[in-house]
Point group: C2
Chain length 444, copies 2
């Protein structure tokens, strides 16, 4: 009998908990779901005999430590910055741990002790990071196995809305943390192109986009992620000359989002007090010069040749020029914008979200000098606004890999991410049973 | 006999320490100058009989607390984030304290206890903040005394290089913390114009500038400071309809600085590793698309109609297109840019810096409905690169006000800034003896 503790019962934990409960009898698991909101935890357990819901405030050290000691494996679905205390407790008490988040400095610091104690600290085992690692490394290892060399790797991922639920001109609804969408790209994007480091600053990020086609899901705009460079190490691609990771949005989204950046509405570092006295129209007006023109005319003038009919339609759909009241009292421009978009871009009860991912490889085989091209693509459509493609693709890789570890399918300890064959091979195989299947295609 | 402790012996402390030593015999003061670098402290004391130099690491709690207990008044010339511990110690041990920095949350939290113990916590008593408060409040109080009402207040300040030392096309050399110059304006600038709140985001801040003339010092570009709004409270101008504070630079500076912003060179949130392998030219190239053009041509193309001959000359003066090696190994784009500018914009041994400040008041008197206009202007030129106008105008207000307090010229306790008449009146009077004199002029 293994005792598994899942901390955090939010939307992204739905598919994870479903999988664990479904397999609990076969593998003799007891599943505890802990959340500040006990009702939410109970809802996810849904009366299953092998599940227990508890209420927990993760910041209360004694409670957290007591609960962790009662389990064998801890899965944290909390925001990344909350993993540190849990990880330290796990290593102290000899428990394994898994998260879908990037390996933090705190996590890295526990690596040696965890290895000595034969404890697994699994990270980056969701969608992105997670499925991206697994599916990319499968192809990279196959190319290396043939004696080949990867010369270019571009990889794109987007969490979007499914075509059948796409009823706003942005082609976007929130299937994960809205705040991350609003602040996306701030800083400097870094990538490698033809052997040369390239940088894109935030003020130009959403104008320097590529078009990526993923059949049959359509064409998408891609903007560069902040960090593409660390993947050279992570994937062992030391002789690569092009390395780019990007985020996908429906076409037109990026050029319209650029209006918010130029206006100043995505800044999160300054607080606007008395926001409750403003409308979104007067907020935008406050960012524009005082002239006799209408707010929309002033905005057009600001954007010059970057303005077009698509953008106008997209901004209109947010009631930006309709004197819509701001209903929070204060906040950064980014928070005020998020407040509006959370209303406008909410997944409705029967809305389906969609995940699209594409890796583009270029490589050379020992058999000849020609560059080979291979695209590996994935599309997943969600069931409804609870069982989203996002929850499925974040939760399943974590649940499957925890199961594989507990069943002794791989023996790796310390900090691990799913770039190793013994982790990704059974993971990708089982994901296919859930219709999460990459389509690989040689291109010209 | 009063014992005064000055913590921090950097360039900005020079005039402060000179003043205290010069007056030490008359007022029976013992001056201790404490710095991590004892030689620097000794240099500032320069063998004066009433001065003692000591070495101190402010982060060692026991040392700091022991030293503070031995004094009656503590003046901190350290960076603002280091004042907190000192202030808490001062209040605990019953010592007065003064800084030239903005009132921090930590300082505010000590206000009540300091008042109860009759301790002064003087802040914002340098140049800006400091002399700006004093000189503005003098005019505001005079207008109020006549029953008048201030309808508009604009205030500009710049720490620049004196015309006779102005030998680079930017008209700029560093007379204070270079890092603050590089990062200036990041976030959202907020001000009040004709009764309406206005915002300017960083990506447009250096393009939306005003021209301010201060006779006989010349015409300057002014960009809006991040916070103009809190001055409404600080100056009690509750019925004002225009409130703007700005920073002055020589003409053309702002339009050229905007190139750095658009390029992405002022971002401080992302680290560029392997910078040591780059030149400034290849760094700029990395921020631009890969085409066959030269780096300068690509940059011209990026800036479109924002590019001109002035900008080209200013950028050329920094050797940006001459394959100049970057001599630090890694850092944010902002740090790499700062490294270059510290070399290019260094005050030379006999260079003089210059402070310019102008307040522009509009007000109505009970005698009539017409708007009156008054400008109050200041210019100060430094002696050399040690005795800068910056050090003089930061250090003297602090030294004079500490002297006035110790001599019983005002009795105010708790957190104070020089907006009160009993502080600013004797301060402005004595500053005139040092040729720091505002010129007031009614304008049409």
């Amino acid at each position: 009998m293994k005792k598994i503790l899942v901390i955090g019962a939010g939307r992204s934990a739905t598919s994870l908990i479903d999988y664990l409960l479904k397999n609990s009898s076969a593998y003799l698991w007891q599943i505890t779901v802990a959340d500040v909101d006990k009702a939410l935890a109970e809802q996810k357990i849904n009366g299953h005999a092998n599940g227990t819901a508890i209420s927990i405030n993760i910041k209360e050290d004694e409670t957290r430590r007591a609960v962790i000691q009662l389990h064998d494996f801890v899965i944290s679905m909390l925001p990344a910055f909350m993993h540190g205390d849990i990880a330290r407790d796990c290593v102290e008490f000899g428990k394994h741990m898994a998260t879908a988040s990037y390996v933090s400095a705190e996590m890295k610091a526990l690596n040696i002790e965890a290895k000595q104690k034969k404890l697994l600290l699994l990270n980056e085992c969701g969608l992105d990071p997670g499925i991206d690692h697994a599916s990319a490394m499968k192809v990279i290892d196959e190319i290396k196995h043939q004696g080949g060399e990867v010369t270019s790797f571009k990889s794109f991922c987007g969490g979007l809305v499914a075509p059948e639920s796409n009823d706003n001109p942005w082609g976007y609804k929130f299937s994960w943390a809205p705040r991350n969408v609003i602040l996306a790209g701030q800083g400097t994007a870094q990538y490698l192109q033809d052997g040369i480091m390239k940088f894109i600053p935030y003020n130009r990020l959403f104008t320097q986009t590529d078009v990526i086609e993923i059949v049959p899901y359509g064409k998408f705009d891609a903007y560069a992620n902040r960090d593409s460079i660390s993947y050279i190490d992570a994937y062992g691609l030391y002789s690569i000359s092009t390395m780019l990771r990007g985020t996908l949005r429906q076409q037109n989204y990026c050029k319209a989002w650029n209006v918010f950046i130029k206006l100043g509405l995505t800044d999160d570092s300054s607080k606007i007090t008395h926001a409750g006295e403003l409308t979104y129209t007067s907020l935008i007006d406050a960012f524009l010069p005082n002239t006799k023109k209408t707010v929309k005319e002033k905005l057009k003038h600001l954007m010059k040749d970057e303005w077009d009919k698509d953008i106008e339609k997209m901004l209109d759909s947010l009631e930006l020029f309709d004197d819509k009241k701001i209903t929070i009292q204060e906040g950064s421009p980014a928070i005020l914008l998020q407040h509006l978009l959370e209303e406008k871009w909410k997944l409705k009860e029967n809305d389906k979200d969609m995940i699209v991912m594409q890796h583009q490889f270029e490589y050379r085989l020992p058999s000849g000098p020609d560059i080979q091209k291979l695209n590996s693509s994935l599309g997943v459509v969600g069931r409804d606004q609870h069982h989203t493609a996002m929850a499925l693709t974040v939760g399943l890789p974590l649940a499957i890999t925890v199961k594989n570890f507990l069943n002794g399918e791989f023996e790796l300890y310390g900090v691990q991410i799913p770039t190793k064959k013994e982790i990704y091979e059974p993971l990708l195989k089982e994901l296919e049973e859930h219709n999460i299947r990459f389509h690989e295609e040689h291109v010209q």
